[in-house]
């Protein structure tokens, strides 16, 4: 048995163990799950060290060309503070690191969200209703514009959903439901493809190692 065949067997047996969860929880699943959790946690620690901490921090702090860049001690300390949470007395220090993470994240995603999820979508909705030419395009464009506007009305929180607001919000939630149905249906194919991929691996790579050729 060579390394390739061993790899196929490892992959196949672990996959089968995980699939057994579909029947119910059992020792095989428990084993595979615990192994998966442990290995992947270990993997991400190594990945972080080798792909982030060494190239982005250590190599900047102590560049190959010599000398030391003391400015990089600051993120180093903030990172250390984060780890120091394990020492209860020093855990307060981690607030500073947390603040840096939350502040940067908030500032970054605020602009990104406003740009791509709000403004770009509003911009795309500003269309001439007759765009496209035919009567069918009129209908489609009207549905798009009403859908977006009524959908937004559904998300109004400071107005009770009664009267005209309620009726508009109802149109909105209806469009949302059609959208969710469509998006569900659209994803089914991609999910089945994954299963097909795994099944092909089992049928055409694993079974042949036992001399079974379909």
């Amino acid at each position: 048995m060579n390394w390739t065949v061993l790899g196929i067997w490892l992959g196949a047996l672990l996959s089968l163990s995980l699939y057994s969860f579909l029947y119910r929880d059992n020792p095989f699943y428990k084993f595979a799950e615990h192994l998966f959790v442990g290995m992947s946690a270990g993997y991400w620690v190594i990945y972080t060290i080798k792909n982030v901490l060494i190239p982005n921090w250590w190599d900047n702090l102590v560049p190959a060309e010599g000398g030391m860049q003391p400015i990089w001690l600051i993120p180093g300390f903030l990172g250390l503070f984060m780890i120091l949470r394990v020492v209860p007395k020093l855990s307060g220090l981690s607030r500073m690191s947390l603040s840096l993470i939350v502040g940067t994240g908030a500032g970054l995603s605020m602009t990104a969200m406003l740009q791509t999820n709000a403004l770009a979508q509003v911009n795309g909705t500003i269309i001439a209703l007759g765009q496209g030419g035919g009567w069918f395009d009129w209908v489609s464009n009207i549905i798009i514009v009403t859908g977006v506007v009524c959908g937004l009305v559904y998300f109004f929180f400071s107005k009770a959903h009664t009267g005209i607001v309620g009726r508009t919000a109802n149109v909105g939630i209806t469009i949302l439901m059609v959208a969710f149905g469509a998006s569900f249906g659209y994803t089914v194919m991609a999910r089945i493809s994954l299963l097909i991929g795994q099944t092909q691996f089992m049928l055409f790579e694993w079974l042949p190692t036992m001399g079974i050729h379909l």
């Binding site: 089914v188 099944t199 092909q200 049928l203 379909l214």
Partner: protein, 285 residues
């Protein structure tokens, strides 16, 4: 009857799981092929363009992908090679992606062996060279200086398949199976637009929409998009061919169809049971 229908609405989900598993495993293991209706479209255009080539023509086939996109692109490679070889068209192949060479070679050898074609006479694999778009421009003026030897290190000058092939302009068609950059866009811009060679191609389902503009302008003669495109082509190639070897895209597509069907049947059953239950409740009232 009603009780049966009502029970149906609450069947153990494990029954659904088993049905789904069977819906995928059976079509794949029996290499099931559901008829795939081929309408007008980029897949048909691609097939027609190849079909229209006279035998003895020369086609450049470029394998611009790697193992990560193999499930979609490899079946296309096999079906295309099959089509070209059955029509006695000479294939000169190469790759803009390093991993594409061996994947392409697998397809070429498998099909060539099954059809009794001969390497260096009916086909050759030139291998991989870096450079992308720049490489294509150089091929435009001289192929043999870029690829003096093929993938196995044999000098191309002595190969019958390379007789009269000196530059891109000597090919009747270029086909690129492309997973990204460099790929179809480079071939269209650097070879198609410049030397007026028809460009065809195949790509993943995700990237297909970005190539549609090339089709509408005629810069590409046809396009196979994703597993669906591969299955289309496999189906068309197999039409009228006896004992055609089974591809993998058609069973994959069949499994997709069956699995979709199973889900839809369950949805319908669920609703029948739901409506039956509601009716009954109404009567009691």
């Amino acid at each position: 009857m009603a009780t049966f229908l009502e029970k149906l609405g609450n069947i153990d989900r494990r029954i659904i799981f088993i049905m789904m598993a069977l819906a995928v495993i059976i079509p794949l293991s029996i290499r099931m092929s559901l008829p795939i209706p081929i309408g007008e479209g980029p897949s048909k255009d691609m097939y027609d363009a190849v079909e229209a080539l006279p035998s003895g023509s020369r086609v450049l086939l470029s394998f611009d992908y790697d193992p990560s996109t193999m499930p979609e692109l490899q079946p296309m490679a096999i079906a295309l090679v099959q089509h070209l070889m059955t029509k006695d068209i000479k294939i000169v192949s190469m790759a803009l992606w390093p991993m594409g060479v061996s994947l392409g070679n697998e397809a070429l050898i498998a099909v060539s062996d099954s059809l009794g074609r001969e390497e260096y006479v009916d086909w050759v694999n030139l291998g991989y060279k870096t450079g992308g778009g720049v490489l294509i421009v150089r091929l435009g003026s001289d192929i043999k200086s870029v690829f003096p030897v093929d993938y196995d290190g044999n000098p191309v000058d002595d190969m019958p398949v390379m007789d009269g092939v000196n530059k891109l302009g000597d090919f009747e068609m270029i086909i690129s199976l492309s997973a990204g950059d460099p790929g179809v866009p480079a071939w269209v811009m650097m070879a198609g637009d410049r030397y007026n060679i028809p460009i065809g191609g195949g790509c993943t389902a995700v990237s297909a929409p970005q190539f549609y503009p090339y089709l509408s302008t005629g810069q590409m003669i046809g396009l196979l998009g994703g597993l669906k495109g591969a299955a289309d082509y496999e189906t068309m190639v197999r039409i009228g061919v006896e004992n055609a070897p089974a591809g993998t895209a058609t069973p994959g597509m069949a499994a997709q169809s069956v699995a979709h069907l199973v889900i839809m049947i369950f949805i319908i059953l669920g609703n029948i049971s739901y409506l039956a239950g509601k009716k009954k409740k109404g009567r009691v009232k």
